[in-house]
Symmetry: C2
Subunit: 356 residues, 2 copies
Amino acid sequence: MKHSHGKPQLITMRDVAKASGFSPATISIVLNNAPLARYIASTTRQRIEETAKRLGYRPNVMARFLRSKRSQSIGVVLFDVTDPFCTPILRGIENGLYPVGYLPIFADAHNQRDRFERYLEMLLERHVDGLIVVANWLLVDIKVLADLNKREIPAATIGWELPGTQLSSVMVDNEAGGRLALEHLYQLGHRRIAVIRGPKRLIDSAPRWRGIQKFAQSVKLKLDSGLELQLPDVFDPNSSFEHGFRLTEELLRDKKKFTALLAFDDITALGAIRALAKAGIRVPEDCSVIGFDDVAIAGLSAPALTTVRQPLETMGNVAVNIVLEAIKAGHENRDWSVVSQKLHPELVMRESTRSI
Amino acid sequence: MKHSHGKPQLITMRDVAKASGFSPATISIVLNNAPLARYIASTTRQRIEETAKRLGYRPNVMARFLRSKRSQSIGVVLFDVTDPFCTPILRGIENGLYPVGYLPIFADAHNQRDRFERYLEMLLERHVDGLIVVANWLLVDIKVLADLNKREIPAATIGWELPGTQLSSVMVDNEAGGRLALEHLYQLGHRRIAVIRGPKRLIDSAPRWRGIQKFAQSVKLKLDSGLELQLPDVFDPNSSFEHGFRLTEELLRDKKKFTALLAFDDITALGAIRALAKAGIRVPEDCSVIGFDDVAIAGLSAPALTTVRQPLETMGNVAVNIVLEAIKAGHENRDWSVVSQKLHPELVMRESTRSI
DNA sequence: CTCGCGTATTCAAACGATTCAATAAAAGCT
DNA sequence: AGCTTTTATTGAATCGTTTGAATACGCGAG
């Protein structure tokens, strides 16, 4: 089937003006409910609204922007859509933006710094009204921030923070999360607990570990440093499964004894479970495993994974609110302050843990 | 930390003009490498490019659009980001768009028709140059198409087609996929095979089933209709796990004998596996299970799922190419034709199937 | 010495909206 | 009746870019 190139010839404001017998200015005022609209006669308003609808008029967002400097769009940069961590956040962002008529412009950095920067440029070129960045350590550096500050674009990061900058941020309380995970295992009676810590460069790793240690200390539990492993700093997305698998295998090869394993994140936990299964160790009968994040897979895998939930969707939502608030403040010429929000994690009990 | 509202005062083309001593027209010509650029002296070109860079000039995409009618963005509408089916497609789309400098504007319909339509409106208002729709049956109807045709916007759908319309489409060859799945089980020696068919209203269901039947026929395999189940037409995203679980439980409750199960998709398969596990039936030792799609989870679950792979990322890419091609044709005032592409599925052997 | 042509650059009119200032009519006040 | 104020509408500039037409200048040919 062929598709020929007629000129679409869209309805412009002029057309509505002509058809209704008023001037473009009046049309604009009515349709935007501008301040001046309170002086418009209600008959006029009706006539205009009616003709606009009849002609199927749609404002040209670009033209509007040119004058009003509002693009009604928010740049959303993810480090990797493919990461199940990102999906719920994206949903949360979209969900927060929808009711206010903003659209997200989507950028996926593929875990590559240059791509990240290029996208940032592109988004700035498009004069997005705001920016939300779901980042990991690869993606954030100084150059970018300088640009953001210069342009004074409201921005928020999720899952990453840079103290001392103009960037707002939204994160889970990782320390509380770490505590929650260990507390759960401890309460089930586990004492010999293997821990797979996160990559050193990842911002979540340290506080999560701190939470674990603090809880251990509070109950006088001695964590065996022989059972303490660490994910490497590579950041190929699905590598954590592989690494969870391998680290666990090493643990088993070394004949370490443990009744529970606390993994840095869900995917790592899944890898660990696979290694345990391969060695004939049943989860949770012979060994409990707990993850972190509660990504979609966690509930579907067999056994369903007990984990510490990050409120990912909420995090997206919160970031949106922060950015929208800043945008509004900007329009009203008010100052706005940078906020750094920490949300509470939550224990989700499923099948991969049980009492000893 | 406070953030005050200085006027960003962006660099405009005028500024570059003033700073370099040439007129805005020249700047535009040089920076866009317009046809007239071949008359521009190379010294001029250099001076201009240098000052543009020095001042940090970025073209205002909106203003440019106003004149040239090119927004350099593509609307991407998904029926549900949360569905693991969508993620790789989204990646493919993004990946295809990136090298040509287009940005995707992201819309997620949440499986709601009204939301879908609203988003479509919003995207049209923004004068996206093209549209890619990842649809399921909920989302496509006539009203929408009328609008698309009126506006003559190049569009492609993924995972859905509407024959006889102006919409290009990209799909897997479902029939081949169905065949592939059954063929695999058959070759492993399975003869008593349970099949969980897809929801009636889903476009994939019928051809996939046809492929299954045709293969059965070709090897004189008799499919027991007592082992034939069907997912209901609800489309709550993660419900297929639930339904896979329940249908399989029913099968077991009815004491049906089967050595393999062919599920409509991976999530259903995971649900089935869970039900089998609960009944003490080991996969793949006692029963083989094969899925469809090869979503990310498939490789991570235990046992790793054997499945028929849809080349999702490629599908996204292909859709992009179709749309970009149409856009180019439109600019060059050529006609473009609607294409309907079917991509080949591929068997991915993992751990959930084994020979009898 | 004028004409035509290729080169190099600029003028000025769009594009489709918003918005401030201006106008005009009606109403209110003394 | 003359003045201000309120109500209702419009003119015209503006946003930053693109682009077809125009200008200016050499330069070789007639």
